[in-house]
Symmetry: C2
C-alpha cells in the first residue's frame, strides 16, 4: 500500500475497498489454512473435552509504546487469559474498529506485530472483522480466544488457607510505561507486555498443582487478590517488602504518588500453590522466560473480616481494597 | 441504577466501578452457570468434532431503531454467521467499548435486548469485557461465537453449475430503516434484524443438501454473490424481476436512487441448492419464521468472463459488480 494512505469510510463498507484491505493486510500477514477459506466463520477440529473461551477489547493510547503496541497487547492479553485457566491457547479471532484517517502504515505495523506474536505463541488467527467509524485515526481491537484444557481447570475456588501466592515478576511496568508516554517523560521503562505460555507450561510439566492463577492487569494486584479472596472465601496476607518493583518504576511511582499494587501489568500472573510446592514453583517460574523476578508475596489464611491485608515492614496490618475511582484510562 | 447515571472513565478501570457495572447489569441479565463463575475465561464442554468460530463488531448508529437495536444486531449477526456454516450456535462472547457519557439506562436496554435474543436463540453469553473511551456517549459491541457442526460443513466451493439460488426474503429493509432514521424520514420501514435458526434447522431436518449459505449484510446481495462466484469459480445469473423488495422499501429506493442489491440486510440468507431440491427448499423456507417472502432468484452456470450477471426484464444482460465506494457508513 502507498506511503500516505489513510483509512476511509469505504474500507468499512463490506465492498471492494474492504476486500482490498483484507487481501493486502489481513490475509498477507495472518494467512493460514483456516483463514484463507474466507468463509463467514472458521471451521475448527476440536478434540472432545473442555475448552477455555474468552474475549477482551483493547483501547490503549498511545498505540505504539516501549515494549509493544496495541496489537501485541491484544494477542498477549487474550492468550494469557486462556493460560491462567489452565488452557493451551490455540485459536484467536480479531475484530478491528478503525477510525477514519488512520494511517495504513501504522495499521500494517500493528498487524505484523499481531501476526508475529501469534506465531511465536503457536496460535492461529482464524476469524476477523473490520469496521470503520468517524474519528481521528484511532484503532480499537477486540480479540477472542479458544484454548484446549488437557487437565483439571484451575479455579479460584480451589484456593485454601495455607496456600502460597507467587507473583511472576515486578509490578507496574506497563502502567508506568503508558503514563510516561502520555506525560512525555523520557525514561527507559518498558511495558511488560508478554505471553507467558512457557512459564505456565513449565509449571504443568513439573506436576506443580496450580490451585488458581490470574493475570494481573487493570486494577492491579490489589484488585485481583481481592477478587480471589472473595471467590475462595479466604483472606490473603501480603508482606509489604516482598513485592518486586523495578527501581526505575519505583522512582517514577514515588514522584507521582502511585502505588504499584494498583497499577496495570500486561505480562504478569499471580499463582496459588500449596505451601509445600511454593519454593519449587518459584524456582520454575524464575527459570522461565519473563519470570526471573518472581517472588512469593503472600499467604492465604482462614477468612477474616477483610479480604486482603498488608503486613507492613514494622509489623502493622492495613486493609488492601480494590481499586477505587478511575485508575489510568485507556491503559489496555 | 439511578435515573440519570452516565458511564464514566471509572467504569473502565477494572476496579470497584467496573465490578458494580458487571454485577448490576451484565450478570443480572446474562446470568448462567458458566458466566457466574467470573473467571478470566469460560470453561466449556465440547463434544469431539468440528466447531464454527466467528467474530463481528457492531458500530451502527442510531443504536435504537425500528425493529431492533445494536444489541439485538450484535447477537443475531454473529449467530447467523455461525448458522450459514452449518453450525448450531451455542456460545457467545461480548466485548463492550463504551464512550464516556453513555446513558446507563440505554446500556441496560441494550443488554436486556441481547439477553432476550440470546435466550430465544438458545445460546449462552459466557464471556465478556468492558472498556471505556472518551467520546460522546456512543457504544460499540464486539461479539464472537462458537457453534457445533454436526454434519458436513457448508462451503462456497461446493457450489456447482446448475445449482439454484434462493434468497430468504425481501432485500434492503435494514439499510432503508437505518437511513430513514439518519435522514429523519418518518415511515414504517423496519429493520429485518433476526436470527434465522429455525429456517436453517428446518432445511437440515428435511435433508435438503445445502451446498453453501451466506448471510447478506454489508455490501448487499451483489457483493455476496460475487464472492461466492469467485470462490466456486462459477457465474451466477440473476433474474431481475425475481428479487423480492417490499413496496415501501422500493419507493424509498426509487426516491433516493438506491439499489436494493447493494443494500445491507440483517436477517437474510442466500442459499445454494441443487436444481432438484430448489422448490422443496423454497417451500421450507417460506414456511419458516422470517422466510415468507423467499424466492428463487438465480441459477449457477459454468464460469463465463464475469462473476455475476443480471438478465433484465427485456432479456438483456448486465454485469453486477461488488459494491464500490463506501455504501452507508455504520450500517451494522
Amino acid at each position: 500500500m502507498g506511503n500516505s494512505q489513510k483509512i476511509t469510510m469505504a474500507h468499512g463498507s463490506g465492498g471492494s475497498a474492504t476486500r482490498k484491505l483484507i487481501q493486502d493486510l489481513f490475509h498477507k500477514y495472518f494467512q493460514n489454512d483456516v483463514l484463507d477459506k474466507m468463509e463467514d466463520a472458521a471451521v475448527l477440529d476440536i478434540p472432545s473435552g473442555k475448552i477455555a473461551y474468552t474475549t477482551d477489547s483493547f483501547v490503549v493510547t498511545p498505540i505504539f509504546f516501549q515494549g509493544g503496541d496495541i496489537g501485541k497487547l491484544a494477542v498477549c492479553g487474550t492468550l494469557n487469559d486462556l493460560l491462567v485457566m489452565g488452557a493451551e491457547p490455540k485459536y484467536l479471532s480479531v475484530g478491528f474498529i478503525l477510525e477514519e484517517g488512520m494511517d495504513i502504515r501504522d495499521l500494517e505495523e500493528i498487524i505484523k506485530s499481531m501476526a508475529l506474536t501469534a506465531e511465536e505463541s503457536g496460535v492461529k488467527i482464524v476469524a476477523g472483522d473490520t469496521k470503520v467509524i468517524e474519528g481521528s485515526g484511532g484503532i480499537y481491537i477486540n480479540t477472542s480466544g479458544i484454548g484446549l484444557i488437557n487437565h483439571k481447570p484451575f479455579h479460584t475456588s480451589n484456593v485454601k488457607p495455607g496456600d502460597a501466592v507467587i507473583v511472576s515478576g515486578s509490578l507496574g511496568n506497563h502502567h508506568a510505561c503508558i503514563l510516561s508516554h502520555r506525560m512525555n517523560i523520557k525514561n527507559t521503562i518498558s511495558s511488560d507486555c508478554a505471553y507467558l505460555g512457557e512459564m505456565v507450561q513449565n509449571l504443568i510439566k513439573a506436576n506443580i498443582e496450580i490451585k488458581a492463577m490470574r493475570d494481573v492487569t487493570r486494577g492491579g494486584l490489589a484488585t485481583v487478590l481481592n477478587e480471589i479472596a472473595e471467590s475462595s472465601n479466604t483472606t490473603i496476607n501480603l508482606k509489604e517488602g516482598s513485592i518486586p518493583v523495578d527501581p526505575e518504576v519505583k522512582s517514577f511511582c514515588d514522584i507521582l504518588g502511585l502505588d504499584p499494587l494498583y497499577m496495570a501489568n500486561e505480562g504478569k500472573i499471580v499463582c496459588f500453590v500449596s505451601r509445600e510446592d511454593a519454593e519449587k514453583a518459584l524456582s520454575i517460574i524464575k527459570n522461565s522466560r519473563f519470570g526471573e523476578k518472581a517472588a512469593i508475596i503472600a499467604e492465604v489464611s482462614e477468612r477474616e473480616n477483610v479480604a486482603v491485608t498488608v503486613t507492613t515492614r514494622i509489623g502493622g496490618k492495613r486493609i488492601l481494597n480494590v481499586l477505587q475511582g478511575e485508575g489510568l484510562p485507556r491503559i489496555c
